[in-house]
Amino acid sequence: MSARAQVAEIGYAPLVAALAALALVAALASVAVGYARLDVSAALADAFAGRPTAAAVVLEQIRLPRAALGAMVGFSLGLAGAALQGLLRNPLADPGVIGVSGGAALGAVVVFYSGLAGAFALAMPLGGVAGAIAAALLLYALVGRGAGTMTLILAGVTVNSFAGALTALALNLSPNPYAAYEIMFWLMGSLADRSLPQLWLALPLTVAGWALLIASAPALDALTLGEDTAASLGFDLGRLRAQLVAGAALAVGAAVAVTGAIGFVGLVAPHLLRPLVGNRPGRLLLVSGLGGAIILLVADVVVRLIPVHPELKLGVATALIGAPLLYGLIDRMRREA
């Protein structure tokens, strides 16, 4: 297969290094691109010297958190997509498609608009995680193990639309007149005006999720041989499922609580990179995370360069790339079936 030949040429470590370098370039581009003219080097000098100039404030409080959050959220979505696809052995399992992101958005919305977010610092990301877990459990109850693609997608549609409706309901119940108009942020996602404290709050939970997901790599590779074979190799499938659901919920839930649900990243990144790792789901995890970070950072640069006012939501940009891809995937699966 040409894919395997490519892997032999590129190699896993150089691939990871190349993607990490690309992600870094995308992050630097995200810092450099903005709405106002900012001398980044001067701002950096001010920031290091501790001079609270306006330029330093913009760099530290607006540009850097935005780039870092883009990388963090993109990595979470790409990684969670690859992990869920490995677990369900289904290339359509994306946190957005199957409703985990939607559940996370609902959890965050309930916590934020009810005022619970002010109760303790971690309330927002934990609300997102709780919503993501609830959606994942609901999905698992509907799909069970070894369900077909059709069941998975239908279950995802159900969970997604239910979570979306409840999100709208929660927003309408808020006494703040603006709240009802903020559903676009939660359903489509955005990195606009996010802040450094939000990054610090979400990061620990997200990193814990990453660790759980990446640690599942050997089990995911074994799972490609079938559930019985994987079990005979000593992998506890029940534990693997719990580990992946918890990992995806932590990573995606905490991310969505800051940026809203951004679709298709977890679908596109694994799909594009799978051939480069020889179709091994274990190796796809880290690679797909980096790919997700690149996609999201580039999308976030694009929405700031497009002269559309107010700023385009990130989910719009990712859907423009992702939806045709999803369509193509479904079409191919239909023809292969």
């Binding site: 709405y35 609270p52 306006a54 607006i62 808020s174 709240a179 009802a180 108009y181 005006d193 107010p310």
Partner: protein
């Protein structure tokens, strides 16, 4: 119309806000229409001088009370006071409560009852609230219905169809417009003297705001929820000018009300950042931008002033207090 106004109307007029934040209506327009003006445009033209010819009474088929009121009005303007007024707009609520006799206003919007966002909350809380729907207004068999500048044309048409006189309260963009609006509504309510008194009080307060002309004017920029600022040609721009401030938004290529990125606000080089913020309001992303850590960091470099939205959302007499507070903040900042 300001973003703040659009926001307040957001809940009470389901379709009203979709018009967007920039639609500016004629300063202080209040028009009165009734069923009799049948074929008139949905946005009636302003009637100047504060006199409202009442045309109720031609054509039959509507409530007897209305007919009676209309006939009386036609015969003798001295008895032209409407007795059952329902307001479907926050700004109209407040003006009507200031101008009308107690008991005349039968219902106001729920927005007016929140002391955090309304100026006449105590008075409003004693009245039944409405959500800005026409059917709610009709339940009171009103002889005058007050609607806002973004009222659904279909709602106004419906009110006319059933013979309920409608007065439209505008969103004045100048102090002259504010005065005209007060006088026009006072006339519509049959209380022209009270209108004159309200205008005189406002002007007296404005006259007491002393600006030291020798002092250089401070540069200010306004940040409202959702990242909106206020450009030239708006009421808020005039409020800033009266408080002795130069509006930096004039340097940006923006409309009267427009969204600006937070980093642009940070880098404009303002001396004073004016936040349109209600304390202790329920959380929203729109308001969260005013609590962004970048603003706290900028507070080391410039004066940050919070001005409650209730003082400058409606073009009512309360704008005098907005001028007073900003002038005081400017004086404190230059010392």
């Amino acid at each position: 119309m300001t973003d703040g106004g659009a926001r307040r109307e957001a809940r009470s007029f389901n379709s009203a806000t979709t018009a967007g934040p920039v639609r500016r209506s004629d300063a202080g327009t209040i028009s009165r229409s009734s069923r009799a003006s049948g074929g008139a445009p949905l946005h009636p033209s302003p009637l100047r001088g504060g006199a409202f010819p009442r045309k109720v009474g031609r054509g039959g088929g509507f409530a007897g009370a209305l007919l009676l009121t209309g006939l009386i009005a036609t015969l003798s303007p001295a008895f032209a006071k409407p007795l059952r007024v329902v307001s479907l707009n926050l700004c109209a609520d407040e003006l009507a409560l200031r101008l009308a006799d107690p008991g005349v206003v039968k219902s106001v919007t729920w927005l007016s009852q929140d002391p955090r966002s309304a100026n006449m909350a105590t008075e409003a809380a004693a009245l039944p609230a409405n959500d800005g729907h026409v059917e709610e207004a009709l339940a009171y068999r009103p002889d005058l219905v007050l609607v806002g500048p973004f009222a659904d044309p279909a709602s106004i048409a419906l009110l006319r169809q059933v013979g309920a006189p409608v007065a439209e309260v505008g969103a004045p963009q100048t102090f002259d417009g504010v005065r005209r609006q007060i006088r026009d509504l006072a006339a519509a309510l049959g209380e022209p003297e009270r209108g004159e008194r309200l205008v005189a009080d406002m002007d007296a307060r404005l006259a007491r705001v002393a600006i030291d002309p020798s002092r250089s004017r401070l540069k200010a920029v306004v940040l409202r929820p959702n990242g909106f600022t206020v450009g030239p040609g708006s009421l808020v721009d005039e409020i800033l000018a009266r408080a002795g401030l130069d509006n930096l938004a004039a340097r940006l290529d923006i409309a009267a009300d427009d969204q600006v990125p937070l980093e642009t606000v940070a880098l404009l080089g303002a001396d004073i950042l004016i936040l349109d913020r209600d304390e202790a309001s329920a959380p929203s992303l729109a308001d969260a931008i005013l609590d962004h850590p970048a603003i706290a960091a900028l507070a080391q470099r410039m004066t940050v002033v919070s001005l409650p939205a209730r003082l400058w959302t409606c073009g009512g007499p309360e704008v005098a207090e907005a001028v007073e507070r900003l002038a005081a903040a400017a004086a404190a900042a230059t010392q």
